[in-house]
Symmetry: D2
Subunit: 291 residues, 4 copies
């Protein structure tokens, strides 16, 4: 029998993710707050849409969420119209939203109480990863639950890895974002320095990108950074949300994040330059705009 999936959140990420599932033969019913996006999705993928999360979740074997932040998740999960009100016993709820580990634990407990399974499975890879089914999924939960849905997740992702108990997917994603912040800070200061020093970007990046200074961001973003092109990619607003999730968690687990905290504030300066929707590599822009 065809596995039934409900997918809540037809944003930049959720839309193509749900599309891959439908194309792979799953029976997908989507929900989106703004109905027009759900309709567009139905047109493109010949799929179904529901008028509330609860209705979308009815009969579903698996319910997936990909919305904005903790509060957004709560608003599609709880209440009469929320997915928990519609889910059937034994169904699995998977949250792909980048959110707090606390939320994950809260959802895990709520699911357990009501007879559902739960996984937190935030993703990395950006819009391109979602469109090309090349996401990385960092999963928190029980292995036996993951094993049931692993093939389905691999329709959307090229790496699906269990990180530990519920919440661990989110924690791994926090590490990911903290690492990116540092990489981009070094790259931004390095390239802005290189500009002021009159260096040639092609020769520079050719020399330094293969060695110990190298990074995915250098390989993929140094060219656009040098040219001040930021109108694409993973938005500064999202990044600040994610870094603040990590810093809030750090207040609980006792980690110190001095460099990350500084970078988060430098992103505030990028926002002040109008960069809310710019790619995170726009961290360089405040250095370039100084003059």
């Amino acid at each position: 029998m065809t596995t039934k999936v409900a997918f809540i959140g037809m944003g930049v990420m959720g839309y193509p993710m749900a599309g891959h599932l439908q194309r792979a033969g799953y029976d997908v019913c989507v929900y989106n707050r703004t109905a027009s996006k759900a309709e567009a999705w139905c047109d493109e993928y010949a799929g179904r849409a529901a008028s509330t999360p609860a209705i979308a979740a009815e009969d579903a074997d698996v319910v997936m969420l990909c919305v904005g932040n903790d509060d957004d998740v709560r608003s599609v999960v709880y209440g009469d119209d929320g997915v928990l009100a519609g889910m059937r016993q034994g169904a699995v709820l998977i949250d792909h939203t980048t959110a707090s580990a606390e939320l994950a634990r809260e959802l895990g407990a709520a699911c357990q109480e009501q007879g559902f399974e739960f996984l937190d499975a935030p993703v990395s890879g950006g819009e391109a990863g979602a469109v090309n089914a090349k996401l990385t999924m960092m999963v928190g939960g029980e292995e036996k639950v993951l094993s049931k849905v692993q093939p389905m997740l691999e329709v959307m992702a090229h790496h699906v890895g269990l990180q530990g108990p519920v919440g661990s997917g989110q924690l791994a994603k926090m590490v990911n974002q903290v690492c990116i912040a540092g990489v981009l800070a070094g790259l931004s200061e390095g390239l802005a320095f290189g500009k002021k020093a009159g260096l040639d970007p092609e020769a520079l990046v050719a020399a330094i990108s293969k060695g110990s200074a190298g990074s995915w961001q250098m390989e993929n973003r140094s060219h656009t950074m040098w040219n001040g092109e930021y109108d694409f990619g993973f938005a500064v607003d999202w990044m600040r949300k994610d870094l603040n999730i990590a810093m809030t968690e750090a207040q609980k687990n006792g980690a110190s994040l001095p460099v990350t905290a500084l970078i988060d504030q430098l992103y505030a300066e990028v926002q002040a330059l109008g960069g809310n929707r710019w790619d995170t590599s726009s961290l360089m822009q405040r250095l370039v705009k100084l003059h």
Copy 2:
């Protein structure tokens, strides 16, 4: 006729670099302040040593330096025993030391005045790169000078790139070090956070190392960082020297390096923990040692 090379500085880097040249058929004469290392090199490579830089430089077509810092370079270049006192007209002086761009320009001018050619050619790749002839060389100077020595440099390096006029090699190396500092800061805070969060390092790194958080350092150092192993690699003392060269240059070219400057001070805290000779990835140690 065999090209004659003088190589000044038989340290961790210079020793194997000079060895590759000798093995490749160049006629190498080495000099080292501490004579025992020069003797060891002669034994290992059946080469020659001289008792002063000036004597080593006599008859040499190419004179290479790889010593500690600006002052160290000056002490083997100038004076009666310095290489400039020994070099013959038309010879090329190449400085592989990581030093200031100002020093490079000063050496360039001194060479021009005395009828020599000059290139600054600092390297990256560490001890392993030197031993395996897989260095990256960032070269500052004139193309026609580089073209004369390119084959010789490629004996030691897998990438030899001209970055611009004299000094540009050093400037590119500064960018390299600034980028590394940021990468390692993010990685250190990320991994230390992951430890406090109870994550599994294998699953974590498997998930995040291939995507936009990925870096050479994550690929090659996250395992040792997690285990607190730092007794190898590129020393914190060297890193601080390099970052201070970059920050001094930034004061001249008007670049701002807020994150780099912070990281430099965090390295001071690593030094206070005894980490002067630890690998730069030990930036993580101060976070782990907090408790």
Copy 3:
């Protein structure tokens, strides 16, 4: 007729504040979650205690709160036992808790709706200020409301200043805490440097405390900081709460707080050293403990 006051929160601050009012002739009824503290207060000041905030607030002309954080305030304000359930028409609610401006606006709106007046009036001056009635009160709200209660507030404070509409008291307090963080960071790094440099603290502070480096903290804390005495004063945990309130507000108003954010993380390192309840001047301790 004697003005009736309800005072909720018999902590370090609230206990002596309520005491001053009772001594000044106001008719004070206190409430504390942990009843023993309320009883102790009644014994010391021959006052009255109530079993819920709502009961304390009945008949009161003025209801004052001084609890921990936003959530704590909500828990004594709302619900059947909360003060709003007990207050009479025209009564004034004054929140002395250091909390968010958002909470202040929320309380202001709730009061308006139910026919009460509201002022946010966070304080500075610490335990000593509370005990000696030398607090500073930063007030947000309407001038005509403040004028009604000003004499009562001046029983506890030597400065009561209107900062603007509801929420402005909290905003001013945020500025206060941000300023303190910077002062203490400079002082900590300066004194720790001075220690390493072998300077004499008496001569040093005598020289620098009267000029442009001078501050209340230098005047009042440099001696204890030098001696590593932190077992008193305003706790690091409270400071982090306050700085995070400011940073959250900054995300809304677009301010950038790079130095503050860094210091907040350095306080995380002080907490990791066991400093949760140490005075904020313990920021120096992480520098001293490096070796």
Copy 4:
């Protein structure tokens, strides 16, 4: 017999300092690189000028310097025209320049070798302090040397304090500058936040300046900072010189200065805005100029 004084450096500080001495009855001979300033001084104070530092120092009981940085001091001290070439046995050299402790020790050794006494005595108090004879002098050297010149120094300063052996005056001045940096960072972020929050500066500063957030800078600079007035006072360029002296010393004594290092880079951003000669309180300007 009248004490003879040579004063080298008729800059913003040295000019009025030398004037006070002349007015107090000392026999002052000045030298300035740019002769016109020395002439103006002679006109104003009916004093004498010499054509070289060496000639000014001849016959002098005390030789005072107040020039720019380490190199500037060396250029008026050493060589045939330097003060050491002119000084008589037993004379005292006092350096009022803000310079490194290393330079002080070097000058101390040179003086000892040649039969002179030496004190480092950098000042704080700014142009106003110099003009109004209200400087603070932080002195390094021997008590018996200081006691000889103390009355003379008190002609220019309201506080003259011995900080320890030669170099300690400079070390104390470093602490002073580090403290100022922190104070101004907190004040800048606090006031810029207050602006964004729509607060009234008068009410704000009235409330917070008397308590634990208070500082000389808040008392004396918050008004001009709020109004963006920076065209006076102690220049950003000088501040960066001083902070870099402190950071270089910290590399030797093992102190960590994370917040100071960050602030130094933020001053680089103020310089990029054109603020080289602005008062140090212009640290706020980069926050205000974000939009």
